[in-house]
């Protein structure tokens, strides 16, 4: 799998590791294409990853995610840290095209060589991220960026994919987007380590903060810590590993990202969570398993694409169409054909 020292891919990887921006941009395109070259490049970069702290930023459309990320990135630059940003927007399910507009809100970051912004289209993936978003994060990590933001598509309630690649997940809410029940049913909130109510100069900001606080008082989020009458207690069964019930109580912070208000507090919270989570032994294993699961999924898809007999596939479609087989049975038959010893 690894290239020889003279191969163009190892030369590209070398340039990425030296922090060359053009090389990094080209490497990201290569990873995004998801082909054999991308996997070879990933193998070359992977040993050099694992240094950056990755921050997922997610929330409903219109909450100001891009503006907040831009403000947080500027804050990190003031603190002397370099920043990578992966901004994901949806692809059209019909044409595969995409309009990626997050840079419009990030213009204040241009001209700074300590910041690298890359827009990504979801290319058909669900869950609020592109399939190769994790690979792009790795490239930024290997190139030496110290804090990496991953901004998901405007998410609703179940875009929780970001939790499998971000060390710290920031959920962005805005006043007036939903009542407390919306908040309660949102699976999204359970993945959050920091809850931000942006646009806090708008009516209803205090109520939104209070609703989020109340929700945390009820459930403790996914993190299993509740303050009840001033007493910290755990809810539910003790988790089997440290990856979930990690004793972290998500802070609820108000910001006005356009004015930079509240930004320092969010940065402090991210850094506090970073310090807190670094001690959680189960966390890195959790990420490793998520990455492996994604890669395994990809590998199986490829296996299927390479080996599936088109005639057998057509036969299966017809069987499902005529209801002589249900989809699960038909799929199981196709998979059986791929097992060793079952070559036609």
């Amino acid at each position: 799998m690894t290239g020889t020292p003279s191969s163009p891919l190892s030369a590209l990887a070398e340039r990425v590791l030296r922090g060359e921006r053009r090389a990094l941009a080209q490497a990201i395109s290569c990873l995004e294409a998801g082909e054999a070259a991308g996997r070879e490049l990933l193998a070359l970069l992977y040993p050099h990853g694992g240094r950056a702290h990755t921050i997922g930023v997610t929330g409903a459309p219109g909450t100001g995610k891009s503006t907040l990320v831009s403000a947080l990135a500027r804050g990190y630059r003031r603190r002397g840290l370099t920043v990578g940003i992966v901004a994901v927007d949806p692809s059209s399910p019909f044409t595969g095209g995409a309009l990626l507009g997050d840079r419009v809100r990030m213009r204040d970051l241009s001209g700074d060589p300590g910041v690298f912004i890359r827009s990504m289209a979801t290319r058909g993936a669900l869950g609020g991220l592109a399939r190769t978003a994790g690979d792009v994060v790795l490239a930024l990590d290997a190139a030496g960026y110290e804090r990496i933001f991953v901004e998901t598509v405007g998410a609703g309630q179940d875009e929780v994919e970001v939790a499998t690649l971000a060390h710290t997940v920031v959920i962005v809410e805005a006043p007036g987007l939903g009542d407390e029940v919306q908040v309660l049913k949102a699976g999204l909130l359970e993945t959050g380590h920091i809850l931000v109510v942006n646009k806090a100069d708008r009516d209803g900001a205090e109520q939104t903060v209070a609703a989020l606080q109340a929700m945390l008082d009820l459930t403790g989020g996914a993190h299993g810590v509740v303050d009840h009458h001033g007493v910290r207690m755990s809810v539910g069964e003790a988790p089997a590993d440290d990856s979930v019930g990690d004793g972290w109580r998500p802070p609820v912070l108000a910001t006005i990202a356009t004015e930079g208000r509240g930004v320092e507090e969010v940065l402090d919270a991210i850094e506090a969570h970073r310090a807190h989570a670094a001690s959680a032994a189960g966390r890195d294993r959790h990420f490793a398993e998520a990455q492996l699961a994604r890669a395994l999924d990809e590998a199986l898809r490829r296996l299927l694409a390479e080996h599936l007999d088109p005639a057998a596939y057509e036969e299966a479609v017809q069987a499902v169409l005529s209801r002589s087989a249900d989809p699960y049975t038909a799929a199981a038959r196709l998979v059986d054909l791929l097992r060793p010893g079952n070559d036609r």
């Binding site: 095209g97 309009l99 507009g101 890359r118």
Partner: protein
């Protein structure tokens, strides 16, 4: 279930100070509907900002929309910066209010094609597809 082909990526930018981006947005939307990934950067971009964004996004095409009359300075400057950053292969096209007599000089400066007002978006799409596939090694 074929592997993902490399999509055409286009940066649409408005250099200079004019505040009218209807045309740029119409083109951005049309290219998206043609299956391209379009990075839209918004108004009032300097050539430096455009070149930096084009580099980070590793685009195949940079589309510049300009109505202010400053095209003879801003467009060649943008091309020059792109080339200096090593983006020799990126296709640069322009649109907006650009007098015919300025077009030869812009083409000499590296703007591949200038699309005037009223150009059908199909024509722009067809040109980009053809020019990009001619540039790609395959």
């Amino acid at each position: 279930m074929s592997s993902e082909e490399k999509r055409i990526r286009v940066l649409i930018a408005k250099p200079g100070l004019d505040g009218h981006d209807r045309g740029a947005k119409v083109v951005a939307r049309a290219l998206r509907d043609a299956g391209m990934e379009v990075i839209y950067t918004g108004l009032r971009q300097t050539p430096e900002m455009i070149a930096e964004a084009a580099l980070e996004e590793d685009v195949d095409v940079v589309g510049l929309s300009i109505l202010s009359g400053a095209h003879m300075t801003l467009l060649p400057r943008t091309v020059e910066l792109l080339r200096r950053m090593g983006m020799d292969d990126v296709l640069v096209v322009a649109g907006g209010i650009i007098p015919d007599e300025d077009v030869p000089a812009l083409q000499a400066a590296g703007i591949s094609r200038v699309f005037g007002p009223g150009t059908p978006t199909e024509e722009i799409i067809a040109y980009i597809r053809e020019a990009v596939s001619a540039r790609r090694p395959s």
